[in-house]
Symmetry: C5
Subunit: 322 residues, 5 copies
Amino acid sequence: MLINCVAYQDGQKLDDIPVEEISEYVARPDTFVWVALRDAQPEELAVMQEEFGLHELAVEDASRGHQRPKIEEYGDSLFVVVKTIECRDHEVAIGEVDIFVGRDYILSARDGNSKQGFQDVRTRAEKEPHMLRLGPAFVLYALMDAVVDRYFPVLDMLETELEKIEELIFTQGRQRDNIQRLYELKGKVTLVRHVVAPLMEAVGRLHGGRVPSMCMETQEYFRDVHDHLHRIAASLDGIRDTIATAIQVNLSMVAIDESEVNKRLAAWAAIFAIVTAFAGLWGMNFKYMPELDWKYGYPMAVAIMVGVCLYLHRRFKKAGWL
Amino acid sequence: MLINCVAYQDGQKLDDIPVEEISEYVARPDTFVWVALRDAQPEELAVMQEEFGLHELAVEDASRGHQRPKIEEYGDSLFVVVKTIECRDHEVAIGEVDIFVGRDYILSARDGNSKQGFQDVRTRAEKEPHMLRLGPAFVLYALMDAVVDRYFPVLDMLETELEKIEELIFTQGRQRDNIQRLYELKGKVTLVRHVVAPLMEAVGRLHGGRVPSMCMETQEYFRDVHDHLHRIAASLDGIRDTIATAIQVNLSMVAIDESEVNKRLAAWAAIFAIVTAFAGLWGMNFKYMPELDWKYGYPMAVAIMVGVCLYLHRRFKKAGWL
Amino acid sequence: MLINCVAYQDGQKLDDIPVEEISEYVARPDTFVWVALRDAQPEELAVMQEEFGLHELAVEDASRGHQRPKIEEYGDSLFVVVKTIECRDHEVAIGEVDIFVGRDYILSARDGNSKQGFQDVRTRAEKEPHMLRLGPAFVLYALMDAVVDRYFPVLDMLETELEKIEELIFTQGRQRDNIQRLYELKGKVTLVRHVVAPLMEAVGRLHGGRVPSMCMETQEYFRDVHDHLHRIAASLDGIRDTIATAIQVNLSMVAIDESEVNKRLAAWAAIFAIVTAFAGLWGMNFKYMPELDWKYGYPMAVAIMVGVCLYLHRRFKKAGWL
Amino acid sequence: MLINCVAYQDGQKLDDIPVEEISEYVARPDTFVWVALRDAQPEELAVMQEEFGLHELAVEDASRGHQRPKIEEYGDSLFVVVKTIECRDHEVAIGEVDIFVGRDYILSARDGNSKQGFQDVRTRAEKEPHMLRLGPAFVLYALMDAVVDRYFPVLDMLETELEKIEELIFTQGRQRDNIQRLYELKGKVTLVRHVVAPLMEAVGRLHGGRVPSMCMETQEYFRDVHDHLHRIAASLDGIRDTIATAIQVNLSMVAIDESEVNKRLAAWAAIFAIVTAFAGLWGMNFKYMPELDWKYGYPMAVAIMVGVCLYLHRRFKKAGWL
Amino acid sequence: MLINCVAYQDGQKLDDIPVEEISEYVARPDTFVWVALRDAQPEELAVMQEEFGLHELAVEDASRGHQRPKIEEYGDSLFVVVKTIECRDHEVAIGEVDIFVGRDYILSARDGNSKQGFQDVRTRAEKEPHMLRLGPAFVLYALMDAVVDRYFPVLDMLETELEKIEELIFTQGRQRDNIQRLYELKGKVTLVRHVVAPLMEAVGRLHGGRVPSMCMETQEYFRDVHDHLHRIAASLDGIRDTIATAIQVNLSMVAIDESEVNKRLAAWAAIFAIVTAFAGLWGMNFKYMPELDWKYGYPMAVAIMVGVCLYLHRRFKKAGWL
């Protein structure tokens, strides 16, 4: 579905243009065309391929979807795949944006999983004609910057989730719940990492070393995007590492709790076992058991039992078992 | 066993040719020969070695089999080993395809573990004469692309298997089964990874940096294959990582389940121990135990026992032990 | 908030100068201006941006804060982000210092989390005119050196904390506490590592290979800072590694302690179970149980019980269970 | 101990020559000398050092032994250390072969731990004069190829051992044995890896990039050796990884087995505790316990006990505890 | 404290010279001065700095101490920090040697933790004038070689210690001790590794690639040192890896031992519980319990109890629980 198709000259918007005139505008000097698609159908992509002269393999990737984030050079045009991440009810939804960039055009196509569009990017760009004059490379930067900026709230969500689990990690009786949440969190972090890591690697090649000629003037901007991705990746690694430790610690806590429960039970069991043993003793049927005939034999027996119990109770208390 | 032996000129099929005329066709300009073998016998390979002038070490590797996936340059010809992966009844079967490529020929030899042949690759290639005109390098790409595309269903199988285990990972009483399945899955993933990782490394050298001259024109296609392998490798790493965590989590679940069972048992044991202790008390044979002579001594005793039991039961219930 | 704004010529302090005259002084030969801000407001940064001609992206980063430590080149000026670490009541507080350096100026802006200022750096630098003559690059070194030197006490605190835990790691009954402290310590180490690692990487590019021209003469000094960071990073890795092992060891100790407690309890339980079994035996109501009628039957029974108990006690003691 | 000392010209064996004539033959054109030593004594090495002009440090290393596998260049000669691995009664025995190679000579010295000699290598080489004409570099290849080929049976032994353990890993009651065998296997794998890894790294420098001039013509052969080592290293890594997982899985199995045994025991304990509690109840000495006087009181009591036991037994069976 | 201060010309010792004449001798052609200090005081270092023209930062590092092992170039002189390791009563003591090397001088300063001096190095060097003629670079090699050679006994001690623990790892009842010793051993290995790893990295830059001009002629010697360090580092990694596995295995052994003890106890508990249950049964006070009146009721009862016990005992024995 076509969303926008606009021609820009010298950083100024010329006009919305019909798709079939694209190749005409692209040919003009200092002019570029910026097209936005959504849920692009194969036929739409075929039209674009013809108008812009896109490379067959790039179009194939774009129509198939499910690509890894990447930046590929085809001659002096670029094919960029970035992934959007959106939070919905504590779940992480991954979308895909395919971007074709050439000297005189930029074409972005996002799939249905990216609910949030890029209208705001276009609006802001049109307000900065001195930047827009840098051409499609600047638009590419603006789009990538927008995508990456939207990763930060996801990162915050993951960190908040981790902190919530950490608060309960030393609480007795929460281990089953904790481990389940840690496992799910780990899954989400892995998902996000598979989005961030390859993109970071790819963007790293847009500044510093051998940079595609188109991006020469904007490389400081791509370094900025790279730096943001670096920050996100470092945080993700931190979360992953903490989750791994937390899982281990959780297991320790299970073991510690169990050993404490065991001690408490064992202490009580010992106390009752003693009472039972004494009771068994005086329950024997020997004929000559003088204490059985004593007037105060029974209270004495009970007193002995209670006494032993109290003594053991105190000792166990002291040893920290009760 | 010879399957096909066809000569192509300018991207068009000339004819099926007999093996002994190969060297003749190879010598013609703009012509190349594409031979497919299956379960190649040493004698067949010897014939091919002579017709194509293959390097001794490459032929030795091919006749021995059990090679790592690799791409080796011998002068300006290539020797390529790729592995096929097929699923049979949830098991993973690894086959091998050895490919010899030169300026004017391509020879593929698959072993008996690769049930699925490459007839479809040939058929499709013959329908695209503009591509086939690129020569043996394009055929090499087409074969590798076919092999790698067949990895994706295997990956899906592994991921489905993992998801099935994950659904049961927090279910009580399934831990023995889970751990066994995780261990087996890990084995399969390791198997697949040993196929994918070295191939990815090897294909990486067919685009970008110093590329064998034969593949110069097709390097964008090899980058595409490389990218697919990259995607598969990333998924495999994800699965491996998840399996490792799942094994740890499974151990935690065993410990948690056990500690819960322990608590429940201990609670019941405590209740019965108290009853037994009281019964022992009143089972003693002291002469002067006034309550034994009370008319309602017995019901009272039973009432006390039941009362204590109910009290403990409620307390344990509250503490979450029962 | 402006703290200082001073012009230096040939390594000598000229004078405190008003902000609006900065650009004038910057234009003089052999003169540079050194400005220190604290909790810089956007308006202050805007003034500085104009006076010094700072790059838009750098200023944006500085006003947003929460950057990773980094060193970025913009043309022939540098934008440096370093993090300060301060200990407060065994907690680790992270602050940020943003430094803009050009041929003729250096501007540092620290945020509110860095309690300790850099007045001492300025004082010492002014006492070494032969060093100060090297210009802003030397001041940059002096600032970074001061920041990094303040990491060492933090490292000491972490190491002391670890040693305290290690002393108790083989002490019975401390495992819950130990694991909690290890987990918290790990968190602090991770925090510090995220400060040190990227800075080390960045400083590494200020000596040795391709060095920004401004830092050519001072690269031996930056190598010194790099070396300090290297030492800190190695110590942090050592602590991390030790914590990981300590967590594992702690789990083992829980298991060992539990198994020892279990043995002790089981031994006592066995002893009492035997007494109870014997008592039960002689408590049976068979008519013909000759020993019940013996005169010394009761003492004999008690003697047997005590004897068996003593025997078992000795055996368990020997086996190391009691 | 001298084993062989032979001169070759143009790929043909000239003759066995006495040691003192070595330097004479070495000086002839197209001639090289191939010497094999075993358990070389310092004096023998001193003679060789003089005849061939070996480097002092290389000779020192060779006479000391216990070197890491390595390939060192001294001017245009090479000093190569490879390790042999032999299986003896499921144990792994590591031997050492030191090889000195120059333009016109090759000298190999194996120590007493390498039972198997290299006579077969010499025999085969002498049958291939077209290869032997390539000179000492080819002999070096032939020796290294032989050494590395002998690693494969060791690898097979390790893999077989691992498979045997894997078959028993989910068998109850084998965990102690399994863990001991896994630990020992790990030790052997580590031993073999320390032999393979540095050699692979070293051989990697004999093909592809900057290759010692002597090995220029034979680099395809060294690539073949490198590839074999790569395959072995990958298998070793696979084994290591599987052992690590197997150790973890084994611990899980211990925990699972224990928790199942615990449940079974607890179930039986509960059944007997109930019988004892009831027996205690009716063993009390209250005067007015009507059921004691009933004619069928006793059978009724036994019936109740048996009934409760059967009921519990069925419930536990259902819950999978028995 | 000054230990030696000697001038050498053409590999021959000239004379012990007073400190104040150093700069004079340094100026002579083919002459170099070799100074050895111990526990160097700041004033001594200041004198040396003046005589040799040492770099300020290097002197600062040397007087502060506690440096990481490193090799730094200052112009065409080197500043080298190496660590000595000595075993004292199974403890590892780390000392530091700082070495300043220039075209015409070498100055070594060891601290108080390096008990063993380098007199033997000097003695041996003076006996090899042809080596000593290579100048300070050779002396540097000789010193580093001596330091690194002294690492081997430490490595042996660590390996012996590990082997001793390994012998006991499958012994019951040694787990607490084992884990404590493994933890301590790990600490020592970490200590040694922090000494070896950075030195290896640093020495790696003295041969092969871009080598400081001073070391060009001696790079084969430094490669030898590098190789020794490589061997040590590989062994340390092996020990570390084995310790990690041993800790895991130890935990498994604790679990296995515990589960075996549990089974044994449970078996005995079951046997006694049955006796108690039977005794309870015949201890009930029902009026009509015919067996109580049988003449041989009591022996029969005891026989039943003993019989059941024996039966259970055999069954448990068979199942491997007793």
